[in-house]
Amino acid sequence: MTLAEKTLTTRLDELRGDAPTSRHNARTIAALTANPGCARRALLDAAAVDKTVIAQELGFPPKFGQSPFAITRGNSFEAMVKSHGCAELLRLLREELGLTIPEVGYHDLETVGDNATNSVRYQRTKQLLGQALSSGQGTMFDHPMLRLEIAGATAYLEPDVVALQIGGLFHVVEIKSFAIVDGQADPAQVASAARQSAVYVLAMRELLRELGQPPELVAHNSILVCARDFTNRPTAALVDLRKQLAVIGRQLSRLTSIDTLLDLVPPGATFTPGAGLSDTVAAIPSRYAPDCMSSCELAFACRSEARTHGSVDTLGRGVCDDLGGIDNLDTVLALADGTLDPGPEHADIAEMLRRARALRLEVAR
């Protein structure tokens, strides 16, 4: 660890204070790219703070998340697909993707000799995948541990399965309990699974790079295993991730460097729940957008803040773009009803707003 990294880690540890931690997973990373410009979120995530707790502390408990029922169902479906050395998965891979009979090698990476620490599992994953590449042997890797740098901090990630050697390529396998009915699945659920898989593919490629191997050995297609029709029987489909890979890869590389963001935090401030918390949070700039509602635990808190400040952010990005950089609702309204004279830079927007207002008044009459 270099000195710079060390101080970064220490600073993030200090910033976290006594706040409860949460681990990154592919879903949070995929969501992270949904609002890459938000410093508040980037810092909370980099310091691995549990945002749910922060939101509760601020008085805006998040109202989304998976139901315990769905989680149980998902887990038992995954356990079923993976029981007896991934027997069901083997069947699917054979039937639908032409995996050959001899390819059955199975490695369980959920623990390494009863040791379940991230770094040990990561080292072991790297070692086994390296061996698999050089020997050509090893088909399924159950719960490998991967790593991805998120805005200068390391996040550990755990795909459901990585299957090796279908046509000599590693494939990420994602097991989801939602149903594919008559070959069709809910597009929103498929899309979110695809985003998660893309995060794993990026992390896998990172690992191959570390091993000095060509990253293209990780396929850009993932294998999505779902329930068939309304039964509990699994079925598999290939999902093309090229688009997701491009988007997430680009946004991850763009994520603002944490170093500079840390300077925004008032000296000595921490995310420790308690009296000072709301000041600390308020001091870090946010960038609320309606998308936050589906991707960030702090959404209700940030929306309320944006509303009190009369920020146009609450109206969504499309509207913000149309308003050409005017960020305050009062300004917008005043320009529209003519109580404020526009400067030269706002002349055409003011004109547009006035026309819109006139139309509206006409319709309302």
């Binding site: 007896h84 027997a87 083997l90 009979i101 090698g105 199975y106 959920e110 000799g113 009863d114 991230n118």
Partner: protein, 260 residues
């Protein structure tokens, strides 16, 4: 009474015939041949080991049978390391008495404690299957201490080999002792991933058997070799008898540093 050698030859022939019959789909013949095979095997047992002892009365009060006994029976029938879920399913399908899932979770720990307190005091222990590479306990798999070490090893090919072996064992048991619906369900669970073992609608032990043996041919040699090597290494490297039964654990060193 025929000699053991003659019986062995007869057994080999019968095995080939069974496989042929099952492979060609002649289930009636396969069943008849299998019965003959069983008879020959029993005769061989008698010829080599002497007359079987009078079996103890089987009907016992269910409550009188301890958990470990139940698990031991199911594992013995399967003859391969198995996860609690499969053990339960096999127990429910083929044996009587109640086995509570919750009792299985602490079983291995209890057995280890008992072994460490008084080594070899019991005729058998329910112990861990061990990974061939690290000689560590394989997650969630139970085994029996009296099995040869190689049988308790789990290499990359072993989950598949063990599934096929377990399916074969259950299928044999069912052709000999009849099929219950519960037994069919367990066999189905194991059979669905074996090409040619089911037609998607029904399950026939003979067909499962033939299909599983076909696939087993592909993996058996490599797996046997890997397990044998690992077993040998375990004998060489693990001086502690408890480690040979329950595996070596990697110490969790300085957790904080590991997570960083």
């Amino acid at each position: 009474m025929p000699t053991a050698e003659a019986l062995e030859q007869r057994i080999t022939e019968l095995r080939a015939q069974v496989r042929r019959a099952a492979g060609s789909g002649d289930r009636t013949a396969a069943r008849r041949l299998r019965a003959e095979l069983r008879a020959a095997e029993t005769e061989w047992d008698t010829a080599v080991l002497g007359a079987p002892e009078q079996p103890a009365p089987v009907r016992q009060l269910a409550a009188a049978v301890p958990v470990r006994e139940h698990v031991h029976r199911a594992l013995t029938l399967l003859s391969v390391p198995a996860a609690p879920k499969l053990i339960l399913a096999v127990h429910d399908a083929f044996f009587s008495g109640e086995l509570v899932p919750a009792r299985l979770t602490s079983l291995r720990r209890d057995e280890e404690r008992s072994f460490r307190a008084a080594p070899y005091a019991r005729p058998y222990y329910l112990c861990a299957a061990m990974t061939t590479d690290l000689l560590a306990p394989a997650r969630g798999l139970l085994a029996v201490s009296t099995w040869p070490l190689a049988q308790r090893m789990v290499g990359p090919l072993s989950p598949r080999v063990d599934l096929l072996t377990g399916a074969i064992r259950l299928a044999r048991h069912m052709t000999d002792h009849g099929c219950t619906p519960a037994g069919q369900r367990v066999l189905w669970q194991l059979g669905v991933s074996i090409p040619g073992a089911t037609d998607g609608k029904s399950i026939d032990p003979d067909v499962v058997l033939a299909a599983a043996e076909r696939e087993l041919e592909v993996h058996r040699d490599d797996d046997t070799q890997q397990r044998a090597d690992a077993a040998e290494r375990a004998v060489r490297q693990l001086a502690d008898p408890a480690a040979q039964l329950f595996g070596v654990r990697l110490a969790v060193a300085d957790r904080r540093r590991n997570e960083a």
